[in-house]
């Protein structure tokens, strides 16, 4: 008799108040400051198995999908990939020579160092519950070399940036998040601006392009590297719509991200490895 009485009778209002206050305090400290960062990091590592469990159906589905692909399709796919690989590697070889040429020229211009990238391949574990926040969880963390602040790509273009790296997984924010802004330039003529997210996967807003700017539909935007958050020259988006309103000095420009933000299940994490030309540190 004692047990159910104690359990059922314990004051729900009291509990409500206590836990609500606790939550509000957590939200407050998480919002203003970094006191909770270590707690969050520890807890996140502890619940990593849960993250994996939650991801299980997606993983199982892709496994079944791969297991059920029939042989002729595999052969076909294999042939196609081989042809593609041949093409790409020949193209890469011509790029190699361009790269050396470029390095030579940069050395002549006394540019201290050029950047070369390594990629870490990661899988999407989860997405934020709805589109309010365009945020994803990926299955590689600081143990695999992921750092906070590194860029995230898929095969087509820039996806976003890692916001927190935990030992076994990390969180990333997508370029389409309304609070995210990427410094970009137009690949065709080098005009600079900022691409800001809209909260919708398929659209970015371009800020600070004057009405008179030389910008056309179909222009490709790449990162400008300004601000140092994203490395330069990563493809970001193509301009999809330009409108000018009479009362604003800036054009209203919309762009479509190149990366398949809503669909990519595999992502590349850019691992910046600096390639110094020998005298780099001595100076």
């Amino acid at each position: 008799m004692k047990k159910p009485l104690f359990l059922a009778g314990s004051n729900p209002l009291l509990r409500f108040v206590v836990f609500a206050l606790l939550s509000i305090a957590l939200v407050y400290y998480d919002l203003h400051g970094h006191q909770l960062d270590r707690l969050r990091s520890t807890l996140n590592t502890l619940i990593y198995p849960l993250q994996i469990a939650v991801d299980f159906p997606a993983r199982a589905a892709s496994w079944v999908n791969e297991a059920l692909v029939n042989r002729s399709r595999l052969i076909e796919q294999n042939n196609r990939l081989r042809a593609e690989n041949l093409q790409l590697s020949s193209r890469l070889r011509s790029l190699e020579s361009l790269k050396y040429e470029n390095e030579e020229l940069q050395r002549l211009l006394k540019a201290a160092r050029s950047l070369e990238y390594d990629f870490i391949l990661a899988r999407l574990l989860a997405v934020s519950m709805n589109r309010i926040q365009q945020r994803i969880i990926i299955d590689k963390g600081s143990r695999d070399g992921v750092e906070t602040g590194v860029a995230l790509l898929d095969g087509l273009g820039l996806m976003g940036e890692v916001t927190r790296a935990y030992p076994y997984h990390s969180e990333a924010i997508l370029i389409s998040d309304a609070s995210e802004a990427v410094p970009v330039r137009i690949a065709r003529n080098g005009l600079r601006g900022i691409a800001s997210g809209t909260g919708v996967n398929s659209t970015l807003k371009l800020l600070y392009f004057p009405v008179t700017a030389d910008i056309r539909e179909g222009d490709v935007l790449v990162t400008s590297g300004l601000g140092g958050r994203y490395p330069p020259d990563l493809p970001v988006a193509t301009v999809s719509r330009i409108a000018s309103s009479s009362n604003s000095p800036f054009a209203e420009v919309e762009a479509t991200p190149l990366a398949a933000l809503g669909q990519s299940r595999r992502v590349l994490i850019l691992k910046p490895g600096r390639v110094d030309d020998d005298g780099g540190e001595g100076e």
Binding site: P12, F16, S23, L26, L31, R131, Q263
Partner: protein
């Protein structure tokens, strides 16, 4: 005699709900995604309030915060408020008609949505109207059936204990 629920099936329903909640989906489906995890928590609040109390809901909320990377405490606060409504009315709930049940579940889930979205706004995000109301609508459409499924799980394992 009171049959105490065994924890395992409850954990399983919660984990399955978390899977449904977080599995990556295309945008247009994701917008209307039912509130699986809040629905599941609410069900257990109403069905076994002495066992799945506000503290348990809070814990599930914290897990969800960690899993989604939102502000710590955001979903926890929403869960706690929603659960309070559920637990406050759990005795009446079993006597309610279908419409009254929907009204209660709807109010509780609405509280969840509003608090959740309110904290998004504090965090600088701007959720649209559809992102508040669509999930609520699909959740309520599903609620009677989903409750049936969970009821079955609940009764099934309680009966098992009674036989032992």
């Amino acid at each position: 005699m009171i049959l105490m629920p065994k924890p395992a099936p409850m954990y399983i329903t919660l984990i399955v709900a978390a899977m449904l909640q977080l599995i990556p989906l295309p945008d247009f489906v994701s917008d209307a995604r039912p509130l699986w995890l809040p629905m599941t928590v609410l069900f257990w609040n109403i069905t076994a309030p002495s066992w799945f109390n506000i503290g348990s809901s809070w814990l599930v909320g914290i897990f969800l915060d960690l899993l989604t990377g939102s502000l710590l405490g955001q979903h926890a606060l929403a869960m706690v408020a929603m659960s309070y409504i559920g637990i406050r009315f759990y005795k009446q709930y079993r006597l309610y008609s279908v419409a009254q049940r929907l009204l209660l579940a709807g109010s509780a889930l609405l509280v969840w949505q509003l608090i959740d979205n309110w904290i998004w706004r504090i965090d600088g995000q701007t959720p649209g109207a559809a992102q508040i109301w669509l999930p609520l609508l699909t959740s309520l459409l599903l609620w009677p059936w989903y409750q049936g499924v969970l009821d079955w799980v609940d009764e099934h394992w309680r009966a098992d204990i009674a036989r032992e």
